[in-house]
């Protein structure tokens, strides 16, 4: 009799020939045993997702009790069992490196299908069409989120959606937008729309709710309860999409509070939940989302920074558009501003603001309390653009909200900031802000080698999620969860959603004094990595 074993993250079944050892079968499937299967190196770690197998002495020696309890085993020691499911550690690391850039392909699959990844942001919507057989991104479209007409920031949209009419309007606008983008992708690439079988959509909590047609009233006030309920599956017909028949849209679930499916996608992209060592994922934006964790534990929080990082609430602040100062540096004690586009400066955007304040601190024009020490009470940047005292105060509030949030999560998990191996920066601002300036103002209290800007992890994660399940595999899983048919579960996702704990910063007694403390700037640029260019 042959045995069948499920392997992740490929989500496929591996059939063992009668009498075949697990090691041979896994080897055949491409798993390496660096020491030749002698249990010397620990290179063949797997995690048991389903099935009961007692660890043997070698495994007990190699893994901690916690690891054992959460299913970690050595593939070379395992006895096969029918129906057991394994997650292969090796493949994670290999996958981790290339996924960090943006139109990166995913692992090629064997099916001749096309799928679509959609990142539904508050401001921008991006969609990509992938050829699943090759794993390549075929084409990309992006648009501004048309909901912006009903309010620029999330809270105002949530407010708008509190009556039925407003709600319907926001739901329809965003669904129509996604539908139109999908049609555009399909038509421009000239493939048969019947071959496109699935789209995965990721978005923050509010976007998740609005796209799925879930009431957003609970998001308007405490306790901000969000609907979890796993992956949602909506059919193109019920979304009112014309021209795209029989397309299933899966919406990635939220993690809790204001931590949405975009952050879940970020975890898929950065593999935080897979590492033994602890890492941090930070999405710097109006609403900052933070996840800290490792393969044992995951803890997330959202912290409201406000619009300063996007140039909002700043006297001469503006979006990162033509005419904005987007970078400032010190050359021979003088400030040099870089302006987007070939024109003179009209204002300053978030990255420019952080740079300018970092330089101001270096020059002693701003003291650690945030006070401007110059007579004119300004930080002059160009003949037309300067920063006011209030601008610095706004930045102090924004950076304090992030820094205090990070600090509290570290305290909650009892890890020191030094022990965090990676600080992944997601989101637009996180990827164009100058890391050393962010360090100088105390926004990121880490060292240069810890901090890694990783691009649009929401989109990367959506793409990876497309490859998570083959149809055969998910039919099987759906049968297993027959009682709850419209909630499709993907083991790879539930591994995260079941583990992650949402921590509400608002309820923390410690937040207040920590926040006030973090409004200050670090005394000096003592951090060895910081080297202002001279």
């Amino acid at each position: 009799m042959s045995l069948r074993i499920g392997i992740e993250p490929q989500s496929r079944w591996l059939t063992l020939a009668a009498g075949e050892s697990l090691r041979d079968a896994l080897f055949r499937a491409g798993i390496e045993f660096p020491c030749g299967g002698k249990s010397l190196c620990g290179g063949c770690q797997v995690q048991l997702l389903a099935g009961e197998i007692e660890p043997d002495t070698a495994e007990k020696e190699y893994f901690s009790a916690e690891d054992i309890a959460s299913g970690w085993r050595l593939a070379c020691r395992l006895k096969p069992q029918n129906g057991m499911r394994l997650r292969i550690e090796q493949w994670q690391h290999r996958a981790a490196a290339p996924i960090l850039s943006d139109t990166q392909s995913i692992e090629p699959g064997c099916e001749e299908t096309y799928r679509i990844a959609i990142d539904l942001g508050t401001t921008t919507v991006v969609a990509q069409l992938l050829n699943m057989a090759t794993g390549e991104v075929l084409s990309v479209v992006s648009r501004l989120n048309p909901q912006a007409a009903y309010g620029a920031d999330l809270m105002s949209r949530i407010d708008y959606a509190r009556n039925d009419e407003g709600f319907a309007q926001l739901v329809n606008t965003v669904r129509d937008c996604a539908g139109a983008m999908i049609s555009e992708l399909i038509h421009s690439s000239g493939i048969d729309s019947a071959l496109v079988d699935r789209a995965i959509l990721v978005g923050n909590t509010a976007m998740h709710h609005l796209f799925s047609g879930i009431d957003v009233a609970p998001l308007a006030s405490v306790p901000f309860s969000t609907i979890h309920g796993g992956l949602r599956r909506l059919e193109s017909a019920e979304l009112g999409w014309k021209g795209v028949d029989e397309l299933a849209v899966w919406v990635l679930p939220c993690l809790g509070g204001f931590v949405g499916g975009d952050v879940l996608a970020g975890l898929l992209a950065t593999q935080l939940h897979r590492e033994r060592e602890t890492s941090l994922l930070v999405d710097l934006g109006t609403n900052g989302e933070i996840v800290l964790g490792n393969r044992q534990q995951l803890i997330c929080a959202s912290t409201a920074a406000g619009p300063a990082f996007e140039g909002g609430g700043i006297l001469m602040g503006m979006q990162a558009a033509a005419g904005a100062i987007d970078a400032v540096e010190l050359k021979d004690g003088e400030l040099c501003c870089h302006v987007i586009g070939q024109q003179s400066a009209r204002g300053i955007c978030g990255s420019g603001l952080v740079d300018a304040v970092a330089c101001g601190l270096e020059l002693g024009w701003i003291d650690p309390s945030g006070r401007i020490t110059r007579e004119d009470k300004r930080i002059p940047l160009t003949s037309d653009v300067y920063l006011s005292q209030q601008d610095i105060r706004q930045l102090q509030l924004a950076k304090a909200a992030i820094a205090a949030g990070i600090e509290l999560l570290c305290a909650q998990m009892a890890v020191s900031k030094e022990a965090v191996i990676n600080v992944f920066l997601a989101g637009a601002f996180g990827n164009y802000v100058d890391v050393s300036s962010a360090m100088r103002i105390g926004l990121l209290e880490f060292t240069q080698h810890q901090i890694k800007p990783v691009g649009n992890t929401a989109l990367q994660g959506a793409r990876l999620a497309l490859g998570l399940a083959s149809d055969v595999y998910d039919e099987q899983l759906r049968e297993e969860a027959a009682d709850d048919t419209d909630k499709v579960q993907l083991p790879e996702l539930t591994a995260i959603t079941e583990k992650v704990v949402h921590f509400s910063l608002g309820e923390s007694q410690a937040f207040q004094s920590l926040f006030i403390e973090k409004t200050k700037f670090p005394e000096s640029s003592a951090t060895p990595e910081y080297q202002p260019e001279v």
Binding site: S221, V222, G370, Q389, R393, Q512, I516, E517, T519
Partner: protein, 209 residues
């Protein structure tokens, strides 16, 4: 000639407290010392309004003041005990849990000899109304940091109006997201983004000092 007010203005904690002790030992009246402390605090408030000082400075000044008051406390004889300047009821309304600004405000009111009752955060409108009846404040301060809490604030002010409680009190609203329109919407008497301005308004309304 003492420079206690200046020491407080400059946030020189140890020196300020040393000065208080020295003047107490010199037999000076508690009221005179306290007046100087208040003068220093008033300057801190002005500097905060001007943007020279920020949150940490404000909190540090309040701590200095509290320590000074604690040193003076045993020397105050009961007859001299100052009457509260007025009564203030504070709340962050249902839907909102931001309380940093409100807590700072409470501290500043206390520094200025107001009796403060702070209902905390996520306060139901009817609880605020009930407390207005029980505590009988001169001022009601509503702190709002998210726009969605304006509704519950409105419920409360409407109810106060309906029950004929509105005329006896002055209503202040504050917090980063409030605007003059919010003041009109709620029918409030004063709106600000600055705690010290709110306190100054109340001090004035009570006849100043």
């Amino acid at each position: 000639m003492s420079n206690l007010d200046q020491l407080i203005e400059e946030l020189k904690r140890d020196e300020a407290l040393g000065e208080v002790e020295l003047r107490l030992a010199g037999g000076e009246s508690v009221t005179a010392i306290l007046d100087d402390c208040r003068a220093g605090m008033a300057r801190v408030g002005e500097l905060f309004q001007e943007g020279e000082y920020f949150l940490a400075d404000l909190i540090l000044s309040a701590e200095i003041f509290k320590s000074a008051a604690a040193l003076l406390e045993p020397h105050i004889n009961p007859e001299q005990q100052q009457k509260a300047l007025g009564k203030v009821l504070l709340a962050t309304m249902r839907g909102d849990i931001h309380d940093l600004g409100k807590n700072i405000l409470a501290t500043l009111f206390r520094v200025h000899s107001f009796e403060v009752h702070d209902l905390g955060v996520n306060v139901e409108p009817e609880d605020l109304v009930q407390e207005v009846k029980d505590f009988q404040p001169d001022f009601v301060g509503i702190s709002a940091l998210i726009t969605t809490s304006f509704e519950s604030a409105k419920e409360a002010t409407d109810q106060l109006e309906k029950e004929g409680l509105r005329d006896g009190i002055k209503i202040l609203v504050g917090g980063a997201v409030t605007t003059p329109e919010v003041k009109t919407y709620l029918g409030a008497d004063f709106q600000t983004h600055d705690a010290t301005a709110g306190v100054a308004y109340c001090v004035n309304a009570m006849g100043g000092c």
